[in-house]
Amino acid sequence: MLYDLVRWEEKAIYQAAKRKGVDLKLINCRRLHFDLSKDHLEEIGDITLQRCVSYFRGLHLAGLLESKGIDVVNDFHSTLIAGNKLFTTLALIKAQLPVPRTMLSFTPEASLDALDELGYPAVLKPTVGSWGRLVSLLNDRDSAVSVFEHREQMFPLYRVYYLQEKVNRPPRDIRSFVIGDRVVAAIYRISQSSDFRTNTARGGKAENCTIDKELEDISLKAARAIGDGIYGVDIMESPEGLVVHEVNNTIEFKNTVPATGVDIQGLIIEHLLQRSK
């Protein structure tokens, strides 16, 4: 297992491997350097679970190791797509999945034009980022102008404007967990404050969500639209039905295990064992 920091999840995966008698090699990528001309099979192994908390570390590692013939879970292409909300939305649309109406623009002026079409309130998200970080609710034109002014002073990636309709949903969304070809668990993430974001990293509460056929189908299709592997699919309940708004690549499940009783860490180890056969 490749990692940079040890969250609850990395420790749980490590302990699950021990429980199952699997000798999981722990590789702290921050301690390593790689000669690109060399083969890294001996130090890494023929299959590795990529669990970096830093998206860019994980993406570059996946690219490097995959080019050396190592099976990286999740693979480079899936990591690239799932780590970028724009690319994810495009992949979901291509797979004919329902998504919130989304616009892309590159300047504040064009973004205001996009918002005139999209309507207020709308949501502005960084294309790369997680835990609800810098996700902004634009209630009106004045708030949009103000947020765009800040964005224009930031790193170029933040000057890519990914604008999305604010879906009229209950104060919760659904996170389903796909491992291989199975939806193994799902939770409702319920806002606990006036914050419109439901991320458990922002204090959203996790409650078990029953996996019915509709949820199972949309979750599997969304995961398959990105690739093979392990995914967290974020789904909203709109008046028109379920819509997928994100697919996450390095899933966190600290709040899901107690809410659902599902041994996600154990299932990850089993998935790796099966895949390595």
Partner: protein, 61 residues
């Protein structure tokens, strides 16, 4: 490997307990002031602390 060693916080000198089954890079906190550290495992198996990395803009799932 199971051990419960206590290290000293670099800020307030309070106790930072090494958890069971410690992993290199694991985040540990000072019991007094709450400062966060990454656990470093030396070549001889000894533990030391590095101040935890500040959340990066690309951190997450």
């Amino acid at each position: 490997m199971t051990r419960n060693e206590t290290l000293k916080c670099q800020d307030c000198e309070g106790p930072v307990v090494v958890p069971n089954d410690p992993m290199e890079g694991e985040i540990v906190s000072c019991g007094d002031c709450g400062a966060s550290y990454e656990l470093v495992v030396g070549e001889n198996g000894t533990f030391s602390l590095n101040p935890a990395e500040v959340e990066g803009e690309d951190w997450g799932e």
